[in-house]
Symmetry: C2
Subunit: 417 residues, 2 copies
């Protein structure tokens, strides 16, 4: 009875029938099961899958698995704000497309996607659209004529260990892997009843206050978006300025190591995240920032939870400039010294140095070549491949290209201003 009541409450919040909704052990599991079920259910149609290039890793991991299993995948590109276009989805749709996936909003930069429009063109093509709504379900229902929705309770302030998988009636769905009699055969294993009840209750509670709280948080994040670039030099605020989640703001700081900044902010009492090029667990650049073509170094994501106090935001804005300056000072941020000069091309040897050092060294020497002059940065850090072009774009310098070097890669930059 508790499970039935939770299912009804969650279905009401999502905007679906109770028998279309099952609880899974996580949002990741909901995504994996949802994608696998539709791909298998529509296998006769074909094995083509469409995803955006900024989806959550759970979607991209499943896409990788699908490709390894012989399927084909089209990644739809995003613009510099991290947004897809409906036209790009239309172009990606094929007669053998089994499934298209699009997040409701991006988890790193907060950009909201045109889900309702994309759902419309998918519906016209007879292709189900799976919407990973992990970031937005607490704020309200997913709009449009979607086919599958997934969510994750801890993202709306509910407990860990509960995901949602909603599959509209009429969508061909064949659950994969061993199943049991639980959750309509779509999520095997003993149900986590206490957590499920808490998940449904918390979803209803946050949605009830969503409109009011969204307006309040949007004002606070707008304050951060507007003031950070004025308070801190060489900062790029990323993500769409208008179509965005209320409580997320992300920016990248030139000449800063993201992890170092996180630690400093943590000491000041602020828990922020980084989709940085140097996250400690994987050391690979954020695929989202990469797809957007924006700077990935010194990346900070500020998430304001429900009820965040204005004073905390103000204190964050007070603390940030000094913190960034301290990190830059430790790394030896640019002052304008040249390194090794050879003929017309200035060579910067950053081999063995990790981001953001190569960019810092580039910035230090750009002023020492004449306008029109070339700089050749040698680097063996993979993140330089993203960050040097992004720095050029931010600084209005020309990124010429890269070429293999004896060691690592040489990046060519022409000073244009």
């Amino acid at each position: 009875m508790l499970l039935d009541a939770a299912r009804e409450a969650a279905a009401e919040a999502v905007g679906c029938r109770p028998d279309e909704l099952v609880f899974t052990p996580s949002g990741t599991r909901a995504v994996h099961s949802g994608m696998a079920g539709v791909l298998a259910g529509r296998r006769r149609v074909g094995r083509h899958l469409i995803v955006s290039s900024v989806e959550h890793s759970s979607v991209l991991h499943m896409a990788d698995a699908h490709e390894a299993d012989g399927g084909t995948v089209t990644q739809v590109a995003v613009d510099r704000q991290g947004m897809v276009t409906t036209a790009a989805y239309v172009a990606a749709l094929r007669p053998d497309t089994a499934l298209a996936c699009l997040q409701s909003a991006n988890h790193e930069v907060g950009t909201e996607q045109p889900v309702a429009e994309v759902a419309g063109v998918c519906r016209e093509a007879g292709v189900p659209l799976l919407v990973d709504a992990a970031q937005s379900l607490g704020w309200g229902r997913v709009e449009g004529d979607w086919s599958v929705v997934t969510g994750s309770a801890h993202k709306w302030g509910g407990p860990s260990g509960v995901g949602l998988l909603v599959v509209r009636k009429g969508v061909r769905f064949a659950a994969q892997g061993p199943v049991d009699e639980r959750e309509s055969g779509r999520a095997a294993g003993f149900e986590n009843i206490p957590a499920i009840v808490a998940a449904a209750a918390s979803l209803r509670a946050v949605q009830a206050e969503a409109a009011q709280e969204a307006a309040r948080l949007r004002e606070l994040t707008e304050r951060i978006r507007a003031r950070v670039p004025r308070l801190v030099p060489d900062v790029e605020v990323v993500g769409d300025p208008v179509r965005r989640l209320p409580g997320v703001v992300t920016f990248s700081c030139l000449y800063v190591d993201g992890e170092a900044l996180l630690h400093e902010l943590d000491r000041a009492g602020f828990s922020v995240s980084s989709g940085s090029s140097c996250t400690s667990s994987t050391l690979t650049p954020s695929h989202v920032l990469k797809a957007m073509g924006v700077l990935s170094e010194g990346n900070v994501r500020v998430s304001l939870p429900f009820g965040t106090a204005e004073e905390d935001v103000e204190r964050f804005l007070e603390v940030l400039p000094g913190t960034v300056a301290a990190v830059r000072e430790k790394l030896g941020a640019p002052t304008g010294e040249a390194v090794v000069q050879e003929e017309e091309v200035l060579v910067v040897d950053s081999l063995g140095k990790r981001c953001p050092i190569p960019v810092i060294e580039l910035a230090k020497v750009i002023g020492s070549v004449p306008v029109g002059g070339m700089i050749r940065v040698l680097s063996d850090d993979e993140a330089a491949r993203l960050d040097i072009p992004a720095w050029c774009e931010m600084r209005g310098q020309e990124y010429v290209g890269e070429e293999p070097a004896d060691q690592g890669t040489a990046y060519l930059i022409r000073r244009t201003s």
Copy 2:
């Protein structure tokens, strides 16, 4: 840090290295991932899988999926106590055996399996043994030279939503499905840290008191085992009387509908389970009782949790006889009236009647045919196929066999006493 500490505590309790243990969202998921990983990792050896016929449904579902995917499965039979023999595992092992599975103890009847011995013969054959230890981990480590162990926190009194998967170093293992960087790539999705911490703490807590509590509960379940057959007529206590879990006792009552008995006991304040032939969710007979060849009707499983009071057990024994009698009276338990007599064969028409009615009607008429006389029971309830032979065995009557009838199946019984 919390996750690392929980992993170390759980590993100490299980008797493995911390890096051999990952947390999963449920015991079912641990079984599915563990079996799939070993089957894929050892695919070059072959695709033969061995399971016992009384494994938990999670193991059998995975075996079904493996078979549907082109693998082969051998089910090892059990004796009337629900126990496998090591010899049967030896006989089942083949050069292409990729994996063998054996529960530490049965979840319905409590019988402990000879896991250490079976692990030994599997080790000699170079075949990993996966032990589903869901029922026993709270009582202590799994003995013997096993390769994979799975467990479930809510089974030892911990929270829902946490399973354990332990894979010994050296076991070939290829995680299946999309994975991420969490839990060594063996359990994707956001970790449920609070529940994992609680799971590890509770495992350590219950194991610390396990020896003392096991002795106490074993005395209480022994009391139930000994007294129920004296208090209630026509009862069979099932499961091994000696090699068994401390806190579980299971019995079957002739002429009783298991669900009805559960409801009556619930009204008296006792929450018991039934691996009955008539569970409301599936309406299929318990595969465990079927494999054991014992009566499945009127089945009751009494589980005594940690700390169960002696008074509660005594009250249960006071309430049970009257409750069973009341259920039997409602169903019209046998008094000895004949139904339809034809020549030498007495025909009992139980078509359209659900268990335990066919057995009740058989019991009512057995006295009305002479010794040596035959009874033909017509039934279209699948459970009759198990329960009529089981009744014959309990009553010392001869079960002759079954044959198709115009409607349903005819079961032939010869009165021998």
